[in-house]
């Protein structure tokens, strides 16, 4: 167990180091000159040269890179060409808002996809099953961008049920505690603001969740079908347990193993997808930050946001493994001598 975790940590570090190298090289081939960007459109050659020296962009590439790696190891992601603030500060200021959005989308994703998958499995082959799968597929087929604009048009402009953009209505304010608007409203005991923040979350979270529901529902459905056909379910039924208890307690617990893998991976994908959603709904966050950084050739911010999203991926993966261990006791027993898991390796389970 401990060995297994240690190995995971080592591979994670390797993955992140690789990511740092690749992003650094990518920014080198991206068009655009950060020195000119920082100096401004009308700058003269001398001004650009001066800014280049200020930013250390006049050094040879390997020196820039080693300097960058050295700073990275000290937890320094560099200074943004534009905001003049340490990139890490910019990112930590914006990350909570994106996390809030991702968690809300994840909640919607689970609440919709899991029952949908279970229901489809239970009514397999019947119209209800086909309808459930069709709904999930529609969510995945519609472009995120278009869906966001449509939801705005229908629920905000026409029906006026929900706010159009932003994170809090005009005149509402909450203190900055965690950076997640709804949580801050809750912590400061401001109930109207909490309700308002949640209202502002509904449309962007729905937009973000839509494309992820289908995969989860399909995974839950297929593993649920396998589970429902297994002997122990028949046994559980024979003992006279209620159907709900059989399906949820015995069936779902096993069916959720592959689904939890997918959900964990989706955390990372969702954080990446905030790029589109945040800009449509005028929310602050790491997605909107990444877009403006690319447009402004703000090198270190681009690398920083990519790295942070990478860290989230890796952490989510480790969390997935831990959840797997908890759900599937067979993985915990290891062969005494080799330390190899007795059960098939995780990768195979995931596949």
């Amino acid at each position: 167990m401990a060995r297994f975790l240690l190995r995971r940590l080592v591979t994670s570090v390797v993955v992140l180091a690789g990511l740092a190298v690749v992003t650094f090289l990518m920014t080198q081939v991206l068009p655009g000159d950060p020195a000119r960007t920082a100096a401004g459109r009308n700058a003269t050659a001398e001004q650009v040269a001066q800014v280049r020296i200020q930013l250390g962009l006049d050094q040879p590439l390997w020196q820039q890179f080693t300097g960058y790696l050295d700073r990275l190891l000290h937890g320094d992601l560099g200074i943004s060409v534009f905001t003049q603030r340490p990139v890490l500060d910019d990112i930590t200021a914006m990350l909570p808002s994106s996390v809030e959005l991702v968690l809300a989308a994840m909640a919607i994703n689970i609440v919709v996809a899991v029952p949908l998958g279970v229901y489809a499995a239970y009514r397999r082959g019947r119209p209800a099953d086909i309808a459930a799968r069709l709904i999930a597929l529609l969510g995945a087929a519609v472009p995120v961008f278009w869906l966001g604009l449509m939801l705005q048009l229908v629920f905000a402009a026409q029906l006026k049920l929900l706010p159009l953009t932003g994170q809090l209505a005009f005149g509402q304010a909450v203190p900055k505690i965690t950076g997640m608007t709804s949580l801050d409203a809750l912590l400061s005991g401001n109930l109207p603001a909490l309700g308002d923040a949640l209202q502002h979350l509904v449309l962007p979270a729905l937009t973000l969740a839509a494309s992820f529901v289908a995969v989860v529902a399909r995974t839950v459905r297929s593993s649920m079908i396998t589970t429902l056909d297994s002997d122990y379910i028949t046994l559980a039924r024979a003992t006279g347990a209620s159907e709900l208890r059989v399906v949820v307690r015995h069936g779902l617990r096993n069916a959720m193993v592959p689904a939890s893998t997918i959900l964990g991976m989706q955390l990372g994908w969702m954080l990446g997808s905030t790029v589109l959603v945040e800009s449509i709904f005028g929310r602050t966050g790491i997605g909107a930050q990444a877009v403006s950084a690319v447009l402004q050739s703000d090198l270190y911010t681009v690398i920083g946001t990519v790295l942070v999203i990478g860290v989230v991926f890796v952490v989510a993966n480790i969390a997935v493994d831990l959840v797997q261990l908890w759900l599937n006791p067979r993985l915990r027993r290891t062969k005494r001598r080799t330390g190899e898991p007795a059960a098939p390796a995780l990768a195979e389970v995931k596949a």
Partner: protein, 537 residues
């Protein structure tokens, strides 16, 4: 297809089970909705309506990189500097330089020193008095940082404080456009900035804080979402019905801006899609179309290119359908260009030769020069609908005279990269000219002087010693009429060389709710709102 084994237990139980799942889901949803319903205020103008009426909310599509006014050469930074800071001078109607913090100025005979007199009643947001020391500090800081607006005041050498309200600015050389450039120099509270200077002259601190004396104070910024300002009641200019609070909201999607406007979430929107103008106008909104100094150009590559041949350049300028551009692309919100200077610029010469759409003439010029089977490369930016549509219109128009155009869409940084050497410069390069102020120097010098070839905005590598001399001499003259004479000659020369296709002089369209008064587009501050001029009524 497997069916679960039918045991007597299952049928009723299964129903129960279904109810369970459904029940659970519905409980969750009801809970979430109940919580959401706690929010008393919904979208739109309800909830604290008086406060809302006293607030001016502007929709803008691009957030500023910083609040440090040294970067105000960029319109997004300019926009958030305008409410919070004062300048020495402003551009008034018709491109005339008007007083602001400076009440008087005189250029010395040699054009190398300017004596300025300042108002004595200006205080910064923290109550400190604005003096000549602050003006000197601001200019010195720009000179030291060499970025952003520094490119507009390259001639600045030093400043000498005479007393609190008088100072002398020394220039490296005689440079008449300097005074106009001061309209982008936002005056900093030197004591406050120095107290927070750190090791970077306060750039990090100013990126998120305000050190100004302007009509509004910066109260908060949520990145990529909104910037908030509140009225500075001690402002020297006083207030006559302006908003108590100002919010600039960052909404990149044109569709969202329109919805926000019709919902009453915002009062002014700057990026509404042209197709929505008519609908909003009939729906009770004001659609303000203002003339600008902006022009859309296609620059010809003047060296080692098929268009180095003047006959080909001339033929191309006669082959473009300028009227179609006005009606179909700009939907009427624009004017035809006349030469390389927009008609709103100072010293614009209306008599400059400007080719019109004449296919016969274009063909005969080509035939006379013996040109056929020409293929040209062209780059354009996907930044606006106007650019995209103009690129394809030009491509199809030139096909009619047998000139083939290979289009490539690039980003602005890519384009800047391409211009760095003549080898990578496209034969035709489409780009806007955004003069930072109405002074002709900001077009004729920046876009046509050979010092900016492969380094700056002389996109076609236009190299004419006569024009270089005219625009450089004009910089040294402080007499407006004498300057204009030189600039007019430069405009005529550039037109005679067919250096560019002057596609259009687009208007700037702002949509705002009825009831706002005083809004006026300011060509010296493109893509911004001067909130101090707007009354919320």
């Amino acid at each position: 297809m497997h069916q679960p084994p039918a045991t007597p237990v299952t049928a009723p139980a299964r129903r129960r089970g279904r109810r369970g799942t459904l029940g659970l889901t519905s409980v969750m949803l009801v809970g979430a909705l109940a919580l959401a319903a706690c929010g008393q205020s919904t979208s739109g103008a309800s909830g604290g309506s008086d406060v809302r009426k006293q607030t001016l909310i502007i929709a803008e599509n691009e957030p500023p990189a910083t609040f440090d006014p040294v970067q105000a050469d960029n319109s997004t930074v300019d926009e958030v500097s305008i409410p919070a800071y004062d300048t020495l001078v402003k551009y008034g109607k018709g491109g005339v330089i008007a007083p602001a913090v400076a009440t008087e100025w005189t250029f010395a005979k040699d054009g190398k020193t300017i004596d300025l007199t300042l108002r004595g009643d200006v205080t910064f947001h923290d109550g400190t008095k604005l003096t000549a020391t602050d003006v000197k500090y601001t200019l010195d800081r720009i000179g030291k940082l060499q970025m952003g607006v520094a490119s507009l005041v390259t001639a600045y050498d030093s400043a000498e404080i005479v007393d609190d309200t008088h100072l002398k600015i020394k220039l490296k050389q005689s440079y008449a456009p300097f005074l106009g450039a001061l309209s982008r120099v936002y005056l900093l509270n030197s004591k406050l900035v120095q107290a927070n200077a750190g090791s970077d002259d306060g750039r990090q601190w100013l990126a998120a804080n305000d050190a100004g004396s302007g009509p509004y104070k910066l109260t908060g910024y949520t990145p990529n979402q909104e910037a908030k300002f509140t009225r500075n009641d001690g402002y020297w200019g006083g207030f006559t019905g302006q908003a108590k609070d100002v919010v600039i909201r960052y909404l990149p999607q044109a569709a969202t801006q329109k919805t926000a406007l019709s919902n009453g979430d915002v009062d002014i929107a700057m990026d509404v899609d042209p197709n929505d103008w008519a609908g909003l106008e009939s729906g009770g909104y004001v659609v303000d179309k203002a003339d600008t100094n902006v022009q859309l150009y296609v620059f010809f590559k003047m060296k080692d290119s098929p268009v180095a041949d003047k006959a080909l350049r001339e033929a191309i300028t006669y082959a473009y359908d300028y009227d179609q551009h006005q009606s179909a692309i700009l939907k009427g919100a624009g004017k035809k260009a006349a030469g390389v200077l927009a008609s709103t610029m100072v010293c614009a010469d209306p008599t400059v030769a400007q080719p019109g759409y004449d296919l016969q003439k274009a063909k005969s010029i080509l035939a006379a020069a013996g040109l056929k089977d020409v293929t040209l490369t062209m780059s354009y930016l996907k930044a606006t609908a106007e650019m995209e549509q103009a690129a394809t219109l030009l491509q199809s128009d030139l096909a009619k005279i047998g000139v083939k155009v290979e289009l490539s869409a690039v980003t602005y940084p890519q384009y800047v990269e391409m211009l760095k050497s003549n080898g990578t410069t496209p034969d035709l390069g489409m780009i806007y000219g955004f003069p930072p102020n109405p002074d002709p120097d900001s077009v004729l010098h920046l876009q046509f002087d050979s010092v900016f070839i492969n380094n700056g905005q002389n996109s076609g590598g236009y190299d004419n010693p006569k024009v270089d001399k005219l625009v450089e001499d004009a910089q040294k003259l402080t007499d407006e009429d004498a300057r204009c004479a030189l600039y007019k000659e430069a405009q005529q020369t550039i037109a005679a060389d067919s250096a560019s296709i002057n596609m259009s002089n687009p208007q700037y369209v702002t949509v705002y709710r009825k009831g706002l008064t005083g809004y006026a587009y300011d060509p010296a501050h493109h893509q911004t709102v001067d909130v101090y001029q707007v009354q919320v009524g």
